[in-house]
């Protein structure tokens, strides 16, 4: 039996003990006895409290104590379910492109999982699978990982498992690549009251775009300086990413479609045409993945497509459109010609984010051990009862227990009336 709110049962027991204690205090009309000299007894209230050597009115005591206990048990919400397992696991299995050895990750998951456990394979999306012996695990995907989404799904599944398990363990099988990390992960993690078992698998090699960015720009372009600082300069058409600062040509599109590269249209303001018309200038913030760059950017109108970077007000700052094997990316962030914005480190990170490969960001390497320790946390496993909440899970016995308790109180009232009546 599991109690949704054990504190109510404790309160019921305390109440029953209180009733028992009250029955040791004989505060009632004592038994009458004929005494001719009664006139010499001082005239005091008849119902004086006195400590009785034995509990008075045993029948009433039993009815009252049982009624209080039943009401306490009813509010405690007992769950009369199937046999509980000592430990249930919810394993989050990273199947993103950041995993170097998907087979070893799957093997680790298979070693842990038992029938009844839940597997949460995740990349950018996470879905729960109730593990049955012999189930196969789907293979890796090319998508990046989103650890926050996996945590949310895993915690939800853990709550669903809690009525049938004494303890719940969350297991994370992942290299915990920096690309799967975001600022929202730790607040989500702190929603889980216990520790998380972290099994780190080897991460995929960091795919750098260094030497692969082909920039086509005029002399004196500030972005050229940024790319140069990144050390990724190359000849146009030679790498997986082509950044064009002027109008793209048909050859650029063909290149992107056939080679699977990313064609980044990042017009320089002096030559801005069409959709890149200047909207405003001044300081602003651009957010791309985990990069936030604040500078006097020139804000431009952007074309339709999947947003990959945003202004601070949420409007897209860069979009991506698939094209054949590759993609075309339009960046509507004007880099100031004057000043050293192009040389700033935040600008370099922004350029790195916007010149990533098509579709998914490249693995960025494992997060630090301190972050892993924060993810793992400390403390014991989470008790199943701790995850149960009265109201969210209803007890079928509660109405019956409430009815029995109220019926006992009614019987007690009738018995009391009968006793008082001469």
């Amino acid at each position: 039996m599991t109690l949704l709110a054990p504190v109510w049962l404790i309160a019921g027991i305390a109440g029953a003990l209180g009733v028992l204690a009250l029955h040791f205090i004989a505060r009632q009309r004592p038994a009458p006895m004929t005494l001719p000299t009664a006139r010499f007894v001082p005239d005091m209230p008849e119902r004086a409290a006195s400590r009785a050597p034995r509990p008075t009115d045993v029948l009433l005591l039993l009815m009252r104590a049982f009624a209080v206990l039943l009401l306490g048990l009813a509010f405690a919400g007992p769950l009369l379910g199937p046999q509980r397992v000592p430990l249930a696991r919810v394993a989050m299995l990273d199947r993103s492109s950041a995993v170097a050895t998907p087979d070893s990750a799957r093997a680790a998951a298979l070693m842990l999982l038992r029938p009844g456990d839940v597997l949460v394979p995740f990349d950018t999306a996470a879905a729960a699978v109730h593990w049955v012996e012999g189930d196969s695990i789907t293979g890796p995907t090319a998508a990046p990982a989103d650890f926050g989404a996996a945590l949310l799904v895993a915690m939800h599944e853990a709550r669903a498992l809690s009525p049938g398990a004494d303890s719940i363990e969350l297991v994370l099988i992942s290299p915990i690549d920096a690309s799967s990390w975001s600022a929202a992960v730790l607040p989500i993690r702190h929603e889980w009251p216990g520790r998380i078992r972290v099994i780190r698998t080897p991460g995929a090699a960091v795919r750098s775009t260094g030497g692969a960015i082909a920039l086509r720009a005029e002399a004196g372009d500030p972005l050229a300086a940024t790319v140069a600082l990144l050390g990724d300069t190359g000849q146009a058409g030679g790498g997986p990413v082509r950044v064009v600062r002027d109008a793209p040509t048909a050859a650029d599109s063909l290149w992107a479609r056939d080679s699977g590269g990313a064609l980044v249209q990042w017009p320089r303001e002096a030559v801005a045409t069409g959709s890149s018309a200047l909207l405003s200038s001044g300081s602003g913030a651009v957010v791309a993945r985990d990069v936030v760059a604040v500078a006097p950017w020139q804000r431009r109108a952007v074309a339709q497509g999947r947003a990959i970077a945003w202004w601070a007000d949420g409007s897209p700052a860069a979009v991506e459109t698939p094209l054949g094997n590759g993609c075309v990316r339009s960046v509507a962030v004007g880099v100031p010609e004057a000043g050293d914005v192009a040389l700033a480190r935040s600008t370099q990170r922004l350029v790195r984010a916007l010149t990533a490969s098509c579709g998914a960001p490249a693995p960025a390497g494992p997060v630090s051990d301190s972050i892993v320790r924060q993810v793992a946390g400390t403390g014991p496993l989470v008790a199943g009862t701790r995850l149960l909440r009265a109201g969210t899970t209803e007890s079928a016995a509660t109405p019956w227990l409430l009815s029995a308790g109220l019926a006992l109180l009614l019987l007690e009232w009738l018995a009391r009336r009968r006793m008082v009546r001469p």
Partner: protein
């Protein structure tokens, strides 16, 4: 009427046997003239017990003249002798509801009847007429008699009676014929205590002897220690909680009342005896008789 519990014939016989030879003298010389008995009289009479000579005065009975002395000395003298008288005794027995305590044995009533029968037997053995008035409604009266079956008659009357109600004892005393000795057997818990004492004073002033036998139950002296609601049997509306907090005050108040009662009655000239249930009734009768004997001796010594 339900018959009250009574001592069996053997118990009553044992009581009477235990009282054989006991005398219950009058506490003071009897003033009234009556049949010749065993008690000293304040009147001079015709008994052979010579006391003194007194010169004849006009109006004296010439039959009491000592004719021989007159013939020898030519002086008229009366021969004075002490008179011996009987002491008619009336028992006024309280049969109120408070005497039926404690239930179910009615120990107070039982002791009262035993004392009355014992004293009546002792008085009758000295030739004193004995009678009885039982309070209550109806009031039962048996006039003083000296015949042999008087005690049996009184016993029968007592056994036909069941203590109940709250009839005033002063009415019973008022119905008692004028006799030299009146014995009140009661717990004196009625509402007529002042009137009763006044009536007793009146009897005492007329020269009668009044003896009060105060019946007290052991349960009244030492009530149960558990908490209880004490209910007055004569006034059912009087209900008092008797427990740890009130017990000491009750005992003190009851003791003070008993002392005050004894003081008042003794101050009026009555003899007061306290009889506690559970005591030997024969011993109580002897104690009462002995107290009367001592009182007579003390009076004689003073004279």
């Amino acid at each position: 009427m339900r018959r009250s519990r009574e001592p069996g014939p053997f118990a009553l016989g044992a009581l009477l046997d235990a009282l054989r030879g006991v005398t219950w003298p009058a506490r003071r010389p009897v003033l009234r003239r009556g049949a010749s008995g065993t008690h000293a009289s304040r009147l001079t009479g015709a008994s052979p017990e010579f006391t003194a000579y007194r010169p004849y005065r006009q109006g004296d009975d010439p039959r009491r003249l000592d004719w021989k002395l007159l013939a020898r000395t030519d002086r008229a003298y009366l021969r004075i002798t002490s008179d011996r008288a009987t002491v008619g005794t009336m028992f006024v027995v309280d049969a109120s509801a408070s005497m039926a305590f404690p239930e179910p044995g009615m120990e107070k009533w039982r002791l009262a009847t035993q004392l009355m029968i014992g004293l009546a037997a002792v008085a009758l053995s000295a030739g004193d007429p004995v009678g009885m008035v039982i309070s209550g409604a109806p009031l039962r009266l048996s006039p003083p008699r000296t015949r042999r079956g008087a005690v049996a008659e009184l016993t029968r009357l007592l056994h036909e009676c069941e203590p109940a109600g709250s009839a005033p004892l002063v009415d019973a005393l008022g119905h008692a014929p004028a006799v030299p000795r009146v014995v009140l057997i009661s717990d004196f818990l009625g509402d007529d205590s002042a009137e009763l004492l006044r009536a007793a004073r009146s009897r005492l002033a007329s020269g009668d002897d009044v003896q009060a036998v105060h019946i007290v139950a052991r349960e009244e002296l030492d009530p149960p220690s558990r908490a209880l609601l004490a209910v007055d049997p004569e006034h059912r509306t009087v209900e008092r909680a008797l427990g740890d907090q009130t017990r000491a005050a009750y005992l003190a108040a009851f003791a003070e009342w008993r002392d005050q009662l004894a003081r008042d009655w003794r101050a009026a000239g009555a003899a007061v005896h306290t009889a506690v249930t559970g005591s030997d009734p024969a011993a109580l009768v002897r104690r009462i008789a002995h107290a009367a004997l001592e009182a007579g001796a003390e009076r004689g010594a003073r004279a």
